[in-house]
């Protein structure tokens, strides 16, 4: 029964959970930065006319979206050493998370760019703007507004997905829980604490997403009038 739920043990292990929380946080930030870079490149390639550029981006995006992250993680974890890359688990984990989220971010950015009405692009062309000017002055500022909320949604997904790194023994939040569970045979204490820590991150990010939506929403309305 949960009658002997031991808060004392949780307090005793609090430093471990703290370290786990910090590790989860910064490896998520790192992976999100990587994913953003990969996503922008993949999306840029995917929007080109040239088949040669478009095909690899499309294969990458589809392959990632149609397979589980865990399989991708194991693919890199067991596959990279075979190619001669012996990397620490943490690096493999961040790489897997970046590649995984990168594909989703590429699609989010694409949706943002395609949401701009064609007339805007044509107006840009008619005003004699170059491709770069059109992108920088017309499309991207508007696409930015549409993309921020789903990007934050993806950040939430990424933080939760980072729990899977515990399965290749990266020292993060879920791993901290596993350690406590196996040290003291207290899975209830361990995983309830872990869940609470993730909820903390979740509500933080959700608040941020809400705030950004309100901020962007008010800006859009103002610029329209």
């Amino acid at each position: 029964m949960l009658a002997n739920f031991s808060f004392r043990t949780i307090v005793e292990y609090l430093p471990l959970f703290g370290q786990g929380l910090v590790a989860t946080l910064w490896l998520s930030v790192l992976s999100f930065a990587g994913a953003l870079a990969i996503g922008i490149i993949a999306c840029g390639m995917n929007l080109q006319r040239s088949r040669l550029l478009r095909a690899p981006a499309k294969v990458y995006i589809d392959a990632v979206r149609a397979t589980p992250l865990l399989a991708q993680l194991y693919f890199l974890y067991f596959g990279l050493p075979r190619l001669g890359f012996i990397l620490p688990e943490l690096v493999v984990g961040v790489l897997a998370l970046s590649l995984n989220s990168g594909a989703y971010i590429a699609e989010i950015i694409r949706a943002g760019i395609l949401s701009i009405p064609r007339g805007q692009v044509e107006a840009g062309v008619a005003s004699g703007m170059t491709f770069v000017q059109r992108m920088r002055l017309v499309i991207l500022p508007q696409a930015f507004r549409v993309t921020i909320p789903p990007l934050l949604g993806q950040a939430i997904v990424l933080v939760k997905d980072s729990a899977l790194l515990s399965l290749i023994s990266v020292a993060e939040l879920t791993r901290a829980g596993q350690l406590l569970a196996s040290d003291r045979f207290m899975p209830a204490e361990a995983f309830i604490t872990v869940a609470a820590c993730y909820l903390l991150l979740y509500y933080g990010l959700k608040g941020l997403a809400r705030g950004s939506e309100r901020w962007l929403g008010s800006r859009t309305v103002r610029s329209r009038t």
């Binding site: 075979r82 899977l164 979740y202």
Partner: protein, 224 residues
């Protein structure tokens, strides 16, 4: 050497079949149950009762805010402490069904809220009962908004079923993990595992985006 590896790979096909079967059974059962429960929860959450709606909303938020891996550990390790005997398979089914229900609930709520209030008022004015209103007026129109993300959600759930390998269920991903201990070629083994998921998930992804285009277009037509 590659031939030797291929040979032992072919030798492990019974294991692969077992894994495929496990992933298929897990996904099918939890998707079917999750769709039923998700729709029920969605209708209740969009309903009049504030308390009920609040409770469901809070639960959905808890599930959406924690990693599925942690949920699976909680179910697998804590339910026995509460006196519920369960094996890994049952724990996997409970976890996946719960996850599916929560995500589908949110999709259904969004669909119901997208139906114009005039429709509900018209149904009320025609003297339809609550159940008739839901079944004949609101849900059929909500389906247009619900269907594309629902199919997308199915893809996510099939992929999430790989996480139950962490509590020792021999699903497709776990089979990959077992085989790679014998055949030391992670690239090949997990490329094959990925391919198996891809064959199921990719058509569903295509279906979801086609539905979105078609139903989205239909929606725009109506609004004109």
């Amino acid at each position: 050497m590659i031939w030797q590896q291929l040979h032992s790979l072919i030798g492990s096909y019974p294991l692969a079949l077992r894994g495929l079967g496990m992933t298929a059974v897990l996904s099918l059962i939890s998707l079917a149950l999750g769709t039923l429960i998700g729709f029920a929860l969605g209708v209740l959450r969009a309903g009049d009762s504030r308390t009920l709606s609040g409770v469901i909303g809070a639960w959905v938020d808890l599930i959406r805010g924690t990693p599925f891996l942690v949920q699976i550990f909680l179910i697998f390790f804590i339910l026995p402490e509460l006196g519920v005997e369960l094996d890994a398979f049952t724990a996997g089914i409970i976890g996946l069904t719960n996850l599916a229900s929560c995500f589908i609930c949110e999709i259904v709520v969004a669909g119901i809220r997208a139906v114009p209030t005039g429709q509900v008022e018209a149904a009320l004015a025609s003297g339809l009962s609550r159940w008739q209103r839901m079944r004949q007026v609101v849900l059929p129109q909500a389906m247009r908004v619900v269907l594309p993300p629902l199919v997308g959600q199915y893809v996510l759930l099939i992929k999430d079923s790989s996480v139950v390998s962490a509590i020792g269920l021999t699903d497709l991903t776990r089979v990959g993990w077992l085989v790679v201990q014998r055949v030391p070629n992670g690239l090949l083994v997990f490329a094959l595992v990925g391919l198996a998921y891809f064959i199921v998930c990719y058509p569903l992804i295509l279906l979801a985006s086609r539905l979105e285009k078609r139903l989205g277009a239909a929606h725009a037509e109506v609004q004109l």
